[in-house]
Symmetry: D2
Subunit: 267 residues, 4 copies
Amino acid sequence: MKGFFPPKSATGRSALVPSPPWYYSGDLLTIEYRTDPARIAELLPAPLTLAEEDPGAVALIWADWQSCGESREELLDPVRSQYRECFAVVRCRYGDRTFSRCVYIWVDKDFAIARGLHQGYPKKLGSIHLTRPHPYGPAPRIEAGARFGATLAAADRRLAEAVVTLREPAETNGFVNAHPMAHHRWLPHIEPGRGLALDELVESGAAAFEGGVPWAADADLRLFASPTEELSLLRIEEPIGAYYRQVGVCWNGGTLLASATSAANTA
Amino acid sequence: MKGFFPPKSATGRSALVPSPPWYYSGDLLTIEYRTDPARIAELLPAPLTLAEEDPGAVALIWADWQSCGESREELLDPVRSQYRECFAVVRCRYGDRTFSRCVYIWVDKDFAIARGLHQGYPKKLGSIHLTRPHPYGPAPRIEAGARFGATLAAADRRLAEAVVTLREPAETNGFVNAHPMAHHRWLPHIEPGRGLALDELVESGAAAFEGGVPWAADADLRLFASPTEELSLLRIEEPIGAYYRQVGVCWNGGTLLASATSAANTA
Amino acid sequence: MKGFFPPKSATGRSALVPSPPWYYSGDLLTIEYRTDPARIAELLPAPLTLAEEDPGAVALIWADWQSCGESREELLDPVRSQYRECFAVVRCRYGDRTFSRCVYIWVDKDFAIARGLHQGYPKKLGSIHLTRPHPYGPAPRIEAGARFGATLAAADRRLAEAVVTLREPAETNGFVNAHPMAHHRWLPHIEPGRGLALDELVESGAAAFEGGVPWAADADLRLFASPTEELSLLRIEEPIGAYYRQVGVCWNGGTLLASATSAANTA
Amino acid sequence: MKGFFPPKSATGRSALVPSPPWYYSGDLLTIEYRTDPARIAELLPAPLTLAEEDPGAVALIWADWQSCGESREELLDPVRSQYRECFAVVRCRYGDRTFSRCVYIWVDKDFAIARGLHQGYPKKLGSIHLTRPHPYGPAPRIEAGARFGATLAAADRRLAEAVVTLREPAETNGFVNAHPMAHHRWLPHIEPGRGLALDELVESGAAAFEGGVPWAADADLRLFASPTEELSLLRIEEPIGAYYRQVGVCWNGGTLLASATSAANTA
């Protein structure tokens, strides 16, 4: 039986995702703002705590990706490589280090869900749109004054929308998503009342990275309530900044920081 | 932090699925046939082995569901309750018992993927269609001679299609999917080369069940190859039978049969 | 060149829809209410005028259909027969007769758009969901107290949602959608500034109809604003009633009431 | 009542598309080949005839667009501007001129269907994917050796797939789609048996155009049969060439060449 991910088979080619490394080309639109730190604290399971500096900082990020495994074959059957996502990132403290942490994320393909399960991203399906730069016609170039729209919906409700206007080249692409990620991988025990069968805290980040010049931008962001989503509880108290950047990324596994998976969970 | 499934939050209402019990109303179209038992054996990880009787039997099942948790609120926002699936079931031997086992499955909603992760179904997204019975107009009633179509596609390729003609009321809805399910729950270790972080064999089945009279049917089934799918390797050597049945199901957890998750996987 | 609708070809089998008659099996959830008649009047092009009685009456209708042409082959490839729609109907006066008229409609398949072009329905794509009755499990039976949810979204924004509770069998399925339809078929001239190349007022209705007992219901309906939609301008001033009914319908063409397509539009 | 296209309203903002001019930014992947000219002839209604030179030439074109009207507001709500299409173009003779003509086309948004109705493109919905160039990571740059994949599916069946490898800058983007378009705008009479209510031959082309250097490419194209599609009848007898180009386009109406819409069709 082969295959990095189910379904496993004799050849492994049915697996929903191949084994890492995974490669990505994409455009990132990042909007940073401050919310009430209490809203972030309640999303951090112990022993994670709020970041010491600027603990209420949030980054809401739209990404338009093409991704693939080592064979790169997905790029030539682009229904298997193209996807979009929108995700909310906060920072947290674990031990004496500061991490980034994705608290909500929506994607539009199943292979992205599968990778998120491995990486500890709490993925749901959504409908994500992001204006793409283009060298001709009415779409924006990447230049001062260029305007990009971005929207997120799930379960037929719009959850977020933004218009971002590029201002000038910048030195960074923001600070909230700039640390290694500290994520949980949780799966409930199959037997009711027995808690978690998998309860891990993992660290990961890019194994390789390249990117264009980030652009600083001005953002107009709106969040909308939904009965099944709590993104809008991360209310926008104060804007920090916005950024646009084109990047290439390789992800190739992470590190187990802590595991509460115990013998008590075994048969 | 509350929530049966990620994303967890202070209230738990962001969770992609609520905790079981989960309730389902749906229509099942089942087609049973025999394939080369070697094709099934290679999908059974040790210590699972082929069923002793009729080891090459396969059931390909289409289902058109409405589902919900204990609150039943999803039924009133049906984008959150309605989904369709198509799945291939085989039988296997574990210890001295015979189990059913889903080897491939496609669904069209994220909450169904999440439930599958918990239950050990190897879910992917697909596009699934199934004729629905109706009391008026051109759609079929549930009666002798009624014809139902069923199709499955994934990644923009059609993988299976069937036409099923109802013949007469039957005593069963088939035998391949009639045992408790024996499924694996697998998640790779976050650190490359360290194998599986979760490696469980779990058993589950319906906690409660009601259903109408099954109908025996004649089926014309075709499977198509795809670079990323191996359903068509379960080639149709000999038809067994086909069935149509409307059912109500409750699922409420399972039993851990075996776990290879070990201390070696901890930090 | 054959084909009722483009694309036409030597065989006609590429046509997006076959020629009528068209057959439908489906479930209708109808919510009737009164809005400001001025909001309806502004949607009626001359010489249509407001209905004489209850001129502010609106019906918002959700439908879950399976449809086909004379060959009925679409029913066996249900991706080609199943679709859902939500549409707003008002009444109007033309000459000395009262007609129903669809002012907004969203569907989820292209063949439904094509039929709407022929019939004069102003169709857009949307995401439409409607609870389905089922004899087993948590989904509702068609009986007193049964609750159905219905939602509409377009362009990733929710436009309407309703919860309907069945009360008792009724004598009608409402009155707003009970007349023949008076629709316009409009297509702009290809040359800018030359007005309409097609400007017809057509009448149509069901060529044949069968249906179950309608159920009267209580409805809780909410409409939401959108930058590109004006359904919410038909504000709910006063509820009238709600209905649930399963029907079978045949549509087989209509009658041209008036045409303003003139020689001035020809080359 | 305002609105270029239904639904019309007091403000016109419900219209599925605004009035031209329409603006487009996009990437075009063009594959040209020769088929049996008889297959093209049978798609040309009289008085159109085969082109005099190279009458069997076909272009199959994938396009990845962002589009908008004069206000450009769709670009900032990109679910309303982004769409993809795949279309087959042939050439034909009308009078003493050579035209291009789209014989089959699939798009993935309703506003693109509406524009096609106006322009005479025989649009259906499909699922269209096309590798996008990107400056970082595994996706291709626009350079020699870069490989792009392109796929088309409709009704859950794959209809075409291609892999294109860029070779060198070229002087043209192909010749099959290089003429003004000659399209029919057809709508059946609402009364059965009365033929067409609209029967026009229209000419149109870009009102303005800008574009990057075209790249010549080598293509591997496969077409697949479907019960409802006839693209695969345009069998690949001999490859001609392939091209990749980024463009900006403005479309602003066309010219009526001939109309068979007659008084006989009026009430």
